[in-house]
């Protein structure tokens, strides 16, 4: 089963609204990665977080790694229709990457 839990499973927003997806683990994570998969496409790497409490920004996207390194979040400010897709968090461990089930974002224009 999944070792990283993501919520919510789905999110419908109006264009211009903000969006947040959360990723939780019962164990301490060495790192957390975020990927985006457009409908019909393949996952695309967005970022990797390693440090406790780390916050990184990419334009309208803000990524956070919890202080205890057991949770992470991705926040999108003022969503656009181009943000549509599924956002996955993934934990690295050894040479294996474990993906969450993803949060699917729908944006209504």
């Amino acid at each position: 089963g999944q070792q990283v839990m993501q919520i919510p499973q789905y999110q419908h927003v109006q264009e211009g609204e903000d969006f947040t997806t959360y990723c939780n683990s019962s164990t301490t994570l060495s790192n957390i990665q975020w990927y985006k998969q457009r409908p019909g496409g393949h996952p695309v790497f967005l970022i990797q977080l390693v440090k406790s409490g780390e916050v990184k920004k990419q334009k309208r996207l803000t990524f956070q790694f919890g202080e205890a390194k057991k949770n992470s979040s991705l926040h999108i400010t003022a969503t656009q229709t181009t943000d549509v897709g599924t956002y996955f968090c993934a934990k690295g461990g050894g040479f294996k990457t474990i993906f969450g089930a993803g949060t699917r974002l729908f944006v209504k224009a």
């Binding site: 999944q2 393949h42 990797q48 050894g94 040479f95 294996k96 474990i98 993906f99 993803g102």
Partner: protein
């Protein structure tokens, strides 16, 4: 600079048959990982190849096997296909020398349908 390529794009097989999927990594990458993605789910790690050896494996039966060639390209073989093997099979490449920075580049995938 070519990205990750996979072939074929789509494949239809019947139960009990065998299938081989192919992957060429991004130029300069030496590590290939394979994932199975069922509809509406996240990718599930199958195994990873580096220096022509399988160096880690996920929770998949022995029916799933692989190979990496000296040019770093890779194959995924699935024997005795089951209906439940129907999925998108993704290949991802990375560079071992990048250490714990594990940016993976995914190919477009092979959509396998088992009837």
């Amino acid at each position: 600079d070519a990205g990750v390529t996979q072939s074929p794009t789509h494949l239809i097989k019947t139960r009990g048959q065998q299938v081989t999927l192919r992957c060429s990594p991004k130029s300069g990458h030496d590590t290939v990982s394979w994932y199975q993605q069922a509809l509406g789910q996240g990718p599930q790690f199958i195994f990873q190849y580096y220096e022509e050896e399988e160096r880690q494996r996920g929770n998949f039966p022995d029916r799933f096997s692989g190979h990496q060639f000296p040019n770093y390209s890779s194959e995924l073989n699935v024997n005795a296909l089951l209906l439940g093997d129907s999925a998108l099979y993704l290949c991802a490449s990375s560079l071992a020398a990048s250490g714990t920075y594990n940016e993976q580049f995914f190919g477009p995938g092979t959509r396998l349908t088992v009837l």
